[in-house]
Symmetry: C2
């Protein structure tokens, strides 16, 4: 991960999980487990990086990038991840939408392409 908040990703194709969420008012354990999940993910084979932000209105978007769909499936099956999901999703998230995507093209700037 980059300290700038941007993920360093290779030329496409690669894959992403777009996780959009609103939080409950329960904070108990959330920050700790969220940090732990990022640490676990970053040691998972095929992990490329993550971009994550949450606005003042409570909407959060986290995009994690992966080399392959198999790497995403392995992360979903990871024991630590599963424990966090089972214990935390209902407690911490009011609602979430998760989308698995294949990145086809990428560009950067401040210049319009």
């Amino acid at each position: 991960m980059s300290s700038s908040g941007f993920a360093s990703t290779p030329d496409p194709p690669y894959y992403a999980v777009i996780f959009t969420s609103t939080r409950t008012t329960v904070d108990e354990g959330y920050g700790e487990v969220a940090d732990r999940m990022v640490e676990l993910a970053s040691r998972q084979p095929g992990f490329l990086g993550v971009e994550s932000t949450r606005g003042a209105d409570g909407l959060g978007i986290t995009v994690s990038y992966w080399t392959t769909l198999a790497a995403i499936a392995a992360w979903k099956a990871n024991a630590g991840h599963r424990v966090a999901q089972a214990s935390g999703h209902r407690k911490w998230y009011e609602h979430f939408e998760a989308r698995v995507a294949r990145i086809e093209r990428a560009y950067s700037g401040p210049n319009a392409p």
Copy 2:
């Protein structure tokens, strides 16, 4: 668009543009043009919805959803969008990464799938 901040999207496949950015300190015209771009996009054929947030650290993630790659290309070629890009990208964005993706799978909850 949903007032909840979540986009209502159909069953996959569909497409997304993930736009991650940091802003400059220049605010002049930004809010107005950003609102106008969302309004223009929502009237563009093939537009499905948008999810957008910016954190206190300045990192913003906007994900717009589209029916096809052709709809995304048409939006990129839209006159209003091009004017905003030409006048605004250098002034308003310190850096951005744009990624065009095909959504393969989607699920929601608070329950872990």
